[in-house]
Amino acid sequence: MLAYVARRILSTIPVMLVVAFVVFSMLILSPGDPAAVIAGDQATPEDVERIRAALGLDRPFFVQFAEFLWRLLHFDLGTSIFTNLPVSHMIAQRIEPTVALMVFTIVLSVAIAVPLGVIAAWKAGSWIDRGVMIFAVFGFSVPVFVVGYLLAYIFALELDWLPVQGYTPIAQGFGPFVENLVLPSIALGSVYIALIARITRATMLEVLAQDYIRTAKAKGLGTRDVLFLHALKNAAVPISTVVGIGIALLIGGAVVTESVFAIPGLGRLTVDAILRRDYPVIQGVVLLFSFVYVLVNLLIDLLYTVFDPRIRY
């Protein structure tokens, strides 16, 4: 097991190298020029060229890439072209809100979606089942920003229960921290809840048709024990896979959610950096997201052994 974990962690190195190369190539080859953005509208083309030279953007592709890799090997993500701050510092400033948003969303989503999916499967064909499925279709179909605006309008502007926007670090009080995260998490989680609820329902329907479930019922076990101790545990592998895959969905959704609710997280940092062509920041954040995604997949793989003891690495 430990050898497997070590192997998987080592395998992230070539993956990250490929990601680094792809990200770097895409940025250099895509249109846009940070020098032009820095120079502003008043600048002449000569000013722009001078700034490009000062930033080293006029050097050949492979020279720039080699320098980028060298820095990366020293765990140096570089310095933002615009803010002149180390990228690692900018990421550190932004990581807490994004992690908080994602963890809050995952917990909220799993807590809502799994029971919904279980109940829908248990009451398959009933109005409860149809209601859950209608909710799931709604969650899939309505864009995150629309859900966000609706929630903000109803719960912040009209009812004045929660703040419209912003983020309060947990160090400044648990109450304000939660207040700021409720609406963004529901907005971001709407797709996620729909996804997990549907997968839970489908998997549970399959499991509930198995012989051992009939045996459990024949033994006289209560419905709750049958559903949550026997059926759900056996349905957990596909559900956890979807939860893992859904992290990518959340990362994408976080970009929109952070914009709608003005949360100073990594999603907004990425968008701002892309709009300005702040290459070091884009590279740093994409590498981080890629690393997190690889890590989450590893964790999900390890979780399989917990849910299904037959699985061995």
Binding site: G32, V37, R50, V164, G166, G175, E179, A262, R268, D272
Partner: protein, 526 residues
């Protein structure tokens, strides 16, 4: 713990920070600025948001009032000697930087040197100067090769890249490199540790600042730090910024989206007013290097079809009080404004433009229009042009992209088959077109000109004459001649002025009316 006790404790936990928040809120002014503050160096970048930041943190040697008159600011006054060839500036006593060091003449000299390395107007000063030196701690001297009546205006320029004063040690940084220290002598201290680019910037009142005694007017007069603390909340989503203002989570929104103004106006706790007294100027820029707009007759034919009202309404809607057509290359209300030579721009006839296009020999060449879809005002005007070019029967290739892509592609001088362009839109602050010194887009020095690279030796010669003109009447005469020629050359099409009001909570006080954004003087009543 009993259930009631638990609920009471939980409620107290949630309520406590809000009470604290209310206590600090009256001392703190929360502002949603027009953009994200990414760079803190007003010489390195001309970004408007950096300039707004700099007016809080730095002071200028001179300022300008609502009558375009130059006024002393850090300076106590100046003397002109040697028939206008020598200027001696004396600094006010008691001015200090945020680190407690006094503001000295040598700080001003270093700051001027760094500023003129980059700024267009500054470069005109640099070209004409013979020497610049500190005479003692409070006086510095600029000697000129020949009299230059615009020297004071250059040092006082409020827009684009004003001449801010930094400590000599900071101002000695190359103009092509960002400064790494943000010590100024302005009314607010920048709180570096609280800066989260893309989210928040914070400022604290500089207790050592001594405001002038005159009332504030544009960039002159007293700069009072009425709010103890100022926070900039970067909210990129306009709907969220609007909701935050309505709910009282922020106090001031610099540039609300025009679409949201009716909603804000309906809220009795919100004031919506024009803070900017001149407004924003729209521009349709043409590339003079490639067909079809390398042909001056085709450029002039386009003028006949332009209806400025279409462009202005596209931005602000059907609100005539919020826009002004301006048949001039110079800022409406400014000293150089004239309608001389602008007859073609008043025709507003697609049919006549079509005839003129045919006569000029337009043969259906492809017209590549760069469209920045992420800037609502620019995008709105750009869509009007796309429609117009199609109605004129031009072979339009409409390239939608983000602003970052547009600013890169507009720098390309390549033919359109190799990634070049023919047309793009942008907007400028009103003061940017005040006169030939400010208007970089009016340069017609070919390859060295602003994007589009127009060529006109006549305009360039007139521009030189303008700089040497001894008085306002002569400057105005030359500016008129420049405009008449410009309507023949058509470096771009001016699209009039539109106003972008600001919105603030009714308890906000001291909002300054000025063509540049000034956040000092603002405060908040309880």
């Amino acid at each position: 713990m009993r259930r009631r006790t638990f609920i009471a404790t939980a409620a107290a936990t949630f309520a406590a920070p809000r009470v604290h928040g209310q206590a600090t809120a009256t001392r703190t002014l929360r502002i949603v600025p027009q953009a994200n503050l990414t760079s803190l160096d007003p010489v390195w970048t001309t970004a408007t948001i950096t300039r707004t930041h700099s007016y809080l943190v730095y002071d200028t040697i001179l300022g300008v009032d609502a009558n375009f008159q130059v006024k002393p600011q850090l300076a106590d006054g100046w003397q002109i000697e040697d028939d206008g060839r020598t200027y001696i500036f004396t600094l006010r006593e008691g001015q200090r930087f945020h680190n407690g060091e006094p503001v000295l003449a040598r700080d001003c000299v270093a700051s001027i040197r760094r500023w003129w390395a980059r700024d267009g107007f500054g470069q005109e000063v640099a070209k004409r100067h013979d020497s610049i030196e500190a005479l003692d701690d409070r006086r510095f001297r600029i000697r000129l090769k020949r009299p230059f009546s615009h020297l004071l205006a250059a040092l006082a320029k409020p827009n684009a890249s004003p001449c801010f004063v930094m400590p000599e040690s900071v101002a000695s940084t190359s103009a092509d490199q960002q400064i790494t220290s943000w010590i100024g002598s302005g009314p607010y201290r920048f709180l570096r540790d609280e800066w989260v680019p893309g989210s928040r910037a914070a400022y604290a009142r500089f207790e050592g600042y001594v405001p002038r005694r005159e009332e504030p007017e544009w960039t002159s007069g007293a700069k009072r730090a009425n709010a103890e603390r100022m926070e900039w909340h970067i909210i990129s989503d306009p709907a969220t910024a609007g909701a935050a203002l309505q709910s009282g989570e922020v106090d001031f929104w610099e540039i609300p989206l025009h679409d949201l103004l009716p909603v804000l106006r309906r809220n009795r706790n919100i004031i919506v007013e024009n803070r900017d007294t001149i407004g924003t100027v729209g521009m349709l820029r043409l590339n003079h290097l490639h067909p079809p707009f390398d042909n001056p007759e085709i450029r002039r034919a386009l003028l006949l079809a332009i209806n400025q009202e279409d462009y202005l309404k596209a931005v602000v809607g059907d609100h005539p009080e919020m826009f002004n057509a301006s048949y001039s290359y110079w800022t409406l209300g400014g000293p150089m404004h004239t309608e001389a030579g602008a007859d073609a721009l008043k025709v507003r006839s697609v049919e006549r433009a079509k005839e003129a296009l045919a006569k000029a020999g337009y043969r259906g060449e492809r017209v590549v229009q760069l469209h920045a879809s992420d800037f609502p005002t620019i995008a709105a005007q750009s869509l009007v042009t796309a429609d117009l070019l199609r109605r004129l029967g031009m072979n339009l290739d409409f390239v939608a992209a983000d602003w970052g892509t547009v600013v890169q592609r507009r720098a390309s001088r390549e033919p359109i088959e190799r990634g070049g362009w023919n047309v793009f839109h942008t907007t400028w602050a009103g003061p940017d077109w005040m006169d030939p010194a400010a208007a970089v887009g009016m340069r017609t020095n070919g390859p060295n000109a602003w994007f589009g690279w127009p060529t006109s030796e006549k305009i360039e010669a007139l521009r030189e004459q303008w700089f040497d003109a001894p008085n306002l009447a002569e400057q105005k005469r030359i500016a008129t001649a420049i405009q008449v020629e410009a309507f023949q050359v058509v470096p771009h099409v001016p699209l009039g002025h539109f106003l972008s009001p600001s919105a603030w909570r009714s308890n906000v006080t001291g909002v300054l009316r000025s063509p540049v954004v000034l956040f000092y003087n603002m405060g908040k009543s309880a």
